[in-house]
């Protein structure tokens, strides 16, 4: 009941970290700039540096921050609803389903990649996957049921994407889609930013309304309902919010996994595991993580630029396995 200053300090620290990472993100790339040169180019827009910073690095940086925050928030919201720290949009095939739907409209030439059709298809795909999970997991959201349902949905979405790549009329488009599925923020323009941002911000607003229910849900669904929580509304808002965010994120940046798992995990302890208070720091940590990952792919020397989705998976999977291991020990000691 007493005030806890720690979360505020954490919020401030994460905000500073994000600002610093955004500046670094404007500096790094094939043409490295000093902090001063990067900021000068950002504000003046003069010369080659101005074009590089304003047209190439600003969209990429803003997208990384917005998408990272969305994924962190989506993870925290799914975890709050399902009362499990292992819930993560990518485990339920939400990005895969979004990717399948978005690649369908692009591969078959229904719409170019930078139109509203891709995010809308992505959102529809994510909606089916997240909605399916919440229905399957239902009242008794045990870890086993959640993971198995997620596995099934992810496999199904993966198969759907493979089918689309298989029968795509143009092999070059298929290759492009395959790369895009790996998740990347390379060569994204202001157009991508403008398409995704409204949906991402809408998802934040929707998810913000759900936070208050999560704390009561720690007692289970029945007790939460007895305290006045509207479970149907909470479920609907979480599914809608996550689908809007993940669908739009996947449509412009491809499939970027595990931010939703790792970001809340990093900050949970400092909010004493409060599933409501974890939302804001989880969003900030998500933004910082994706910015850092997107900087890393530009700094690591390689012939082709690494895909940021590959980097987040390489970091996320070991964290996930560690958490499963901890969870298993927890269940054993409870038995």
């Amino acid at each position: 009941m007493k005030d806890k200053p720690l979360p505020h300090r954490l919020t401030l620290a994460l905000t500073v970290l994000i600002a610093a990472l955004m500046i670094v993100s404007l500096m790094v790339g094939p043409a490295a700039l000093s902090p001063r040169a990067a900021l000068a180019a950002l504000f003046s827009g003069d010369g080659a540096a101005g074009i590089v910073v304003r047209d190439i690095r600003v969209p990429r940086t803003l997208l990384a921050a917005l998408i990272g925050a969305t994924l962190g928030l989506s993870g925290a919201a799914l975890q709050g609803l399902l009362r499990n720290p292992l819930a993560e949009p990518a485990l339920f095939g939400a990005p895969q389903a979004a990717a399948a739907a978005a690649s369908f409209v692009i591969a078959f030439g229904f719409a170019p990649a930078t139109s509203l059709a891709a995010p809308i298809a992505g959102i529809a795909g994510a909606l089916i996957s997240v909605g399916g999970l919440v229905i399957v997991a239902g009242r008794r959201a045990s870890l086993t049921v959640i993971l198995l349902a997620g596995l099934a949905l992810a496999s199904f979405a993966g198969a759907a994407t493979a089918l689309i790549l298989n029968i795509a009329p143009n092999p070059f488009i298929a290759l492009e889609v395959a790369f895009w599925l790996l998740g990347s923020l390379e060569d994204r323009s202001i157009d991508h930013l403008l398409i995704a941002a409204p949906f991402l911000i809408a998802s934040w607003i929707v998810l913000a309304f759900t936070a208050r229910s999560f704390r009561a849900l720690t007692l289970g669904e029945d007790a939460a309902a007895s305290l006045g929580v509207d479970l149907q509304k909470t479920r609907l808002l979480v599914v809608t919010g996550v689908a809007l965010g993940v669908g739009a994120a996947v449509a412009v940046a491809g499939s970027i996994g595990f931010i939703g798992l790792v970001a809340p995990h990093l900050v949970r302890r400092s909010v004493q595991s409060d599933p409501a208070r974890v939302m804001l720091p989880a969003a900030l940590a998500g933004a910082a993580l994706l910015l850092a990952a997107d900087i890393a792919v530009r700094v690591v020397p390689s012939a082709n630029e690494l895909k940021v989705g590959v980097v987040t998976a390489l970091i996320g999977v070991p964290v996930f396995l560690t958490m499963i291991f901890g969870e298993r020990r927890l269940e054993e000691s409870a038995a």
Binding site: G220, L227, D230
Partner: protein
Amino acid sequence: MSVILRADDVSVGIGSRTIVERVRVKLRRGELAILIGPNGAGKTTLIRALAGLLPSDGQISLEDKPLGSFDARERARHIAYLPQGNVFHWPMPVETVVALGRYPHGDPFGTPSEEDRVAVRDALAATATEAFAARPVTTLSGGERARVALARALATQAPVLLADEPTVSLDARHQLVVLDVLQKTARKGAAVLAVLHDLSLAARYADHALLMQNGRIVTQGEVKDVLTEERIAQVFGVEAHMTTIGGVQVPVAQRPL
């Protein structure tokens, strides 16, 4: 004593099955009512319907108004419900968990009012859980968790408290501790209904006993009329032996029939 929660001819069906059939219950202020019955009798379903968590046929009224006419938060301020199992999904501090009982009273992100603070402090004191108020709830023992769960329900300070098997999996001492708290809560003016499996404890604590079998209340009233050897044999299939504890006639299950 005044009736605060009242069920008339209440039936609850899940799918095509009728789980609770034409049940009449009156919960009175100041009274600890105990609901007893074999596994699968419909006790949990009945108590969830009384808490407004399940749709039911018939009439459930709270303070003489239909339960359905209350909005969820208003209902939550009147009826505290303690489900089975003492579930805590996140390792939050005990104090934060108990404060969830105040959820229906205010904005969960607002600053707690003086009333909220007092309610939480009283609930912690009543259940002797202050000593671990700052500990993560998941690190507690079974008996401690049961008391925290009860403290959360008490913190609402609702005039009706419905407790589903609050003593399950507790040792002898903690069973008595929990029942003493429920009794005190009733004495302070709340209407308390608890589901119990222990016949002797039920007989010792019940101001009003309800015996349930196959979805129906077979009999209800004073303990001496409800928990008789014949009734116990008929409902539980158990031969019971009557003994006297502290001047109260108490049945002890002897052997299955």
